[in-house]
């Protein structure tokens, strides 16, 4: 190889297409070894945007983040949810291992405020992870220049930064260095690596994210009917079974 070229390739900001980039900041373990193996630096990046483009809501898109959030909050680090789509149900977050006193939720009323709150949260060194739903209230989604502002802010703050977006925004280009598309797969989560600082992913990853325990494990006293019995009937039968 040309020595000048070899020298240039030693630079930290240049990456060869067949190798993972060296993550600028230590990454945050995702809690899923299969996934960590596919992520540059072996975990969720800090100081850069990660886009999670979920096919639908309720397929386990947050389940993908819960182990990391549990680790951070267990260490007393703060996690901020900006413009979440619904009210958080405390018992579920607690059951997932998230320390609730480290969790803060921000509910801006206008898209402009949501972007501002997102930028401020990402910039803040006191926030270890920010989860942002940036497209709420925006029909055409977040404009590209706003995404760039978020990416710059994430670099300043140095925390993990997750954008949770609908899958229809997967096609437009984005400045986020890591983009994952999430699909439901029979109670598991299929993760498609759309973009990463590394060689293109050859295959999707199937992960067992946290799903509610089903049937008899969760409801030992109740009857689980796939076909729907009348509620009163089911209780009678469960008593009979007991």
């Amino acid at each position: 190889m040309n020595p000048a070229l070899a020298g240039a390739l030693q630079r930290g900001d240049i990456r060869r297409g067949d190798a993972f980039a060296v993550a600028p900041a230590p990454t945050l373990g995702s809690g899923f070894p299969l996934l960590d193996a596919e992520l540059p630096g072996g975990g969720w990046p800090r100081g850069a945007l990660t886009e999670l483009l979920a096919e639908h809501e309720g397929i386990g898109e947050l389940g993908l983040l819960l182990p990391a959030l549990a680790t951070l909050t267990a260490a007393g680090r703060a996690v901020l949810l900006v413009a979440p789509p619904h009210a958080a149900h405390a018992p579920a977050w607690a059951a997932a291992g998230v320390r609730l006193d480290c969790l803060r939720l921000v509910f801006p009323r206008r898209p402009r405020d949501a972007l501002w709150a997102g930028v401020e949260a990402l910039r803040c060194g006191g926030v270890a992870a920010t989860l942002l739903w940036p497209d709420a209230m925006l029909r055409d989604g977040l404009p590209a220049n706003s995404l760039r502002r978020l990416q710059v802010a994430a670099g300043e703050g140095g925390g993990a930064a997750f954008l949770l977006r609908p899958a229809r925004f997967a096609a437009p280009a984005s400045p986020a260095p890591l983009r994952l598309q999430l699909h439901a797969a029979e109670g598991r989560l299929r993760v498609q690596l759309l973009k990463r600082r590394g060689p293109p992913a050859r295959h999707d990853i199937l992960l067992d994210v946290r799903r509610p325990a089903l049937l008899s494990q969760a409801f030992p006293h109740a009857l689980a009917g796939a076909a729907l019995p009348a509620a009163s009937g089911s209780r009678r039968r469960s008593r009979a079974a007991a």
Partner: protein, 384 residues
């Protein structure tokens, strides 16, 4: 340090070394005054009274010993002493225009003609008698107002004027080693009309910059009902500043502080209800199981059964077809029912049978059926 009418007197004798000499100290005082936009004259003298008279006579007199002070006082006009009018008229009647004229006369006859208090003042100014000064005591409660030079229509513009009040507050806090959790900013529109802008901080604050940043967000979000004529800043309560020595070691304190500041600014701009915490509350009804502004952040959940991360408020009504709930196609019931029956005591009683349902697209949902008429199916949560 104390205040005379129109004048601030500082005892600087003991501070010269600290500030790097007299010229440097004077320059700093001038810079600070300029930063607060206060036009001022300075004079330095060996006695407090001489300094006061000299500064009333003009700017820039610097006399570091008694001899120089005495020499400088000779040219001070008698007006600068601000004597009581009858006394001033009598001195004028004698033809004495300058302090030097008075000092040239024998002191004993001066006492007989102009009264003993005047002679005592002269002796104090010349350093012949001690002149003990009462130290300025900071007021117990901070309240300061500022008239605006012109009516202000847009709230964000008020920040420039408010900076001066915030700087004064920070100085007042520094002198007391205090900090504040809340301050009131009152915007006066005249005719007794006032807009109150309370600022709350999650942790006690004392730096001007931090108070200013929260104030900025509050002002940015504010729409004035009428032009503002004056600003007033009050600190009703102060707390003792906490020592911050632990934070040097692990950075956790700095992170906490950065987070507290962020939350303050978010609350200031978005409104306090928009920034929420989360805690469990021991209630079986899901809609009452979370607290957004927890008084006790360590509440325990009422159940360990599976619960969804998101809760819909209000629950979404689901269509029913042949006895089965529908949402973009029929829902498959994966677990349930779990009967929740509670709240009869507070009028919001609920009796519901909950199921975990999976729709055709793979969404995991938490739905319930109301067994009481008119009944029906509802979507209450999402297992995200």
């Amino acid at each position: 340090m104390n205040l005379a009418p129109d004048a601030l007197r500082l005892d600087i004798g003991a501070s010269l070394r600290l500030f790097g000499g007299l010229p440097a100290l004077l320059q700093q005082v001038r810079d600070d005054l300029a930063a607060m936009d206060l036009p001022a004259r300075l004079a330095v003298a060996a006695t407090p009274l001489a300094a006061l008279w000299l500064v009333r006579a003009g700017d820039g007199a610097v006399c570091t010993d008694l001899a120089a002070t005495r020499a400088a006082l000779a040219s001070v006009p008698m007006d600068a002493l601000r004597l009581a009018p009858p006394l001033a008229r009598r001195i004028e009647g004698f033809g004495l225009r300058r302090l030097g004229d008075v000092l040239a006369l024998p002191r004993a006859s001066l006492g007989a003609r102009l009264g003993k208090p005047f002679v005592v003042d002269l002796a104090r100014a010349l350093g012949e008698l001690p002149d003990p000064q009462a130290c300025f005591a900071f007021p117990e409660r901070f309240e300061q107002a500022l008239e605006l030079p012109a009516p202000v229509e847009a709230a964000p513009v008020l920040l420039f004027a408010a900076r001066r009040l915030v700087a004064a507050l920070a100085g007042w806090l520094a002198a007391r080693n205090g900090a504040v959790r809340a301050i009131d900013c009152l915007i006066e529109h005249g005719h007794g009309q006032v807009t109150a802008l309370p600022l709350a901080f999650s942790a006690p604050v004392h730096e001007a910059a931090r108070i200013e940043r929260v104030l900025k967000e509050s002002l940015d979000a504010l729409r004035l009902p009428a032009p503002a004529l004056a600003l007033r800043l009050c600190a009703p309560q102060t707390v003792v500043r906490e020592a911050g020595s632990l934070v040097l070691f692990d950075g956790a304190g700095q992170r906490q502080e950065a987070l507290a500041e962020l939350l303050d600014r978010l609350a200031a701009r978005l409104g306090a209800p928009a920034v929420q915490g989360l805690a469990c509350h021991a209630d079986h009804r899901p809609e009452h199981a979370s607290r957004a502004h927890p008084a006790n952040p360590a509440g325990a959940p009422a159940t360990t059964l599976p619960r969804p991360l998101w809760l819909l408020d209000p629950p979404e009504v689901l269509r029913e077809s042949r006895g089965r709930p529908q949402r973009a196609g029929p829902l498959r019931l994966a677990a349930g029912p779990e009967r929740i029956e509670s709240g009869w005591w507070d009028g919001a009683d609920a009796r519901r049978d909950y199921f975990i349902a999976i729709d055709g697209a793979g969404r995991w949902l938490w739905i319930f059926r109301d067994p009481r008429p008119p009944g029906g199916w509802f979507l209450h949560g999402v297992f995200a």
